[in-house]
Symmetry: C2
Subunit: 214 residues, 2 copies
DNA sequence: GTCTATATGGGGATAGAC
DNA sequence: GTCTATCCCCATATAGAC
């Protein structure tokens, strides 16, 4: 149950984000959201028109800035590289860090974003694919191009496949906030939470090796 | 709509598998299943007791043999290696091929399994995690141990993380049966379907490099 | 802007006839 | 084993008072 200090419109967004992250879009009902946010059911439709509109708003609030940051970091490292191409590691960092690193800020709200991010990356072949597509189209295009310039000898579709694998690996990293029952006995925790900096460096090490595989 | 040649119990399983693969477990209603299978709603509860029971049966039919095959292949390559450890590539093949390669058989039914497999690997932090856990506990344990023996200098939790990333990458490979809108323009298709042999070799190349990253 | 009340439909599950 | 009929709950969405 959220405090009443925030306005209704924001409380809806906060609760929706937490519950979507925790249970998925499909499994989260508007009713569950309004109970936690302590708002009226009708207010959801007043502000966001429909459940789909709410999902869109939740994703946009968090991922619009992240995707902006990704493109900014990409430009920064491209500029720093001058007329050469940035390294695969640098491109991967621009792609992965803005998303993974938000988890480092210790605020509760940001930790939901980790799981929400994981959930997004996994939404292939669902009714929400369209929403996700709209959010990430531009980023996908720019990074695909950047990888092609960094590895000109790799065929474009080979690079696309490897990016796809990278996204899957990243999604699993994002979900680390949720205890993974099968492997959890060997996964290290810090204060009951996974150490995000470690996750990020492990993820980048793994994906960089995969992207550059012979 | 399925033909009536198969008995009711099987038709339910076939339709459920296709729809679960296509739309996810949560989003697929029993009613949608019985329409396609052309059976009565009550028969689902008669044979499988509940929706959860049906999910369990669908997964077990396909993944029990696959997981058996995984363990068999692991034993084979461990035996062939004698007193040394199999290579990371060999272990990865034992882990990934039994799942990916079923897609090669051109039967329609097996192509659902690709997506179903992807969907399973993604079901972290949902109400279905328990079901998935039961199916894969043994396999996870054995392969974790195998990787540890192959890379004794890597910390166990480092290996667990890399296995987790590998599973995410594999999940994305499994979903290749569904057109990936964002990247699809550069992904190669053969006869409207992705070439599974190529996917498998790409996936193993990528994940082997990741697992062995410095 | 916020609420109550309700429309409307779909969901899983079951009783009981055949 | 199979079917009809139905229970009961929950879902999204909206109308209309305040």
């Amino acid at each position: 149950m959220l405090p009443m200090s925030e306005p209704t419109k924001i409380r809806i967004l906060d609760s929706a984000e937490r519950l979507f992250a925790h249970n998925g879009f499909e499994a989260t009902s508007l009713r569950a959201i309004i109970v936690e946010a302590r708002v009226n059911l009708a207010s959801v439709h007043y502000y966001y028109r429909s459940k789909e509109g709410l999902i869109r708003a939740v994703l946009e609030r968090r991922f619009a800035p992240i995707n902006q940051e990704r493109l900014r970091l990409l430009e920064v490292c491209q500029h720093a590289a001058g007329d050469r191409s940035p390294s695969v590691e640098q491109i991967l960092e621009a792609f992965l860090l803005p998303m993974v690193m938000v988890g480092i800020k210790k605020s509760k709200r940001n930790s939901y974003l980790m799981q929400l991010g994981g959930r997004i990356l996994l939404e292939s072949g669902t009714q929400f694919e369209r929403i996700v597509e709209d959010q990430f189209k531009e980023v996908a295009r720019c990074f695909l191009q950047a990888f092609q310039q960094a590895m000109p000898r790799l065929a474009p579709n080979e690079i696309a496949w490897r990016m796809n694998f990278t996204i899957g690996a990243a999604a699993k990293a994002m979900f680390a906030g949720i205890p993974m029952k099968v492997l959890s006995n060997v996964l290290q925790k810090v204060d009951g939470e996974f150490e995000v900096r470690e996750i990020a460096s492990r993820l980048i090490g793994y994906t960089a090796a995969g992207m550059k595989a012979p």
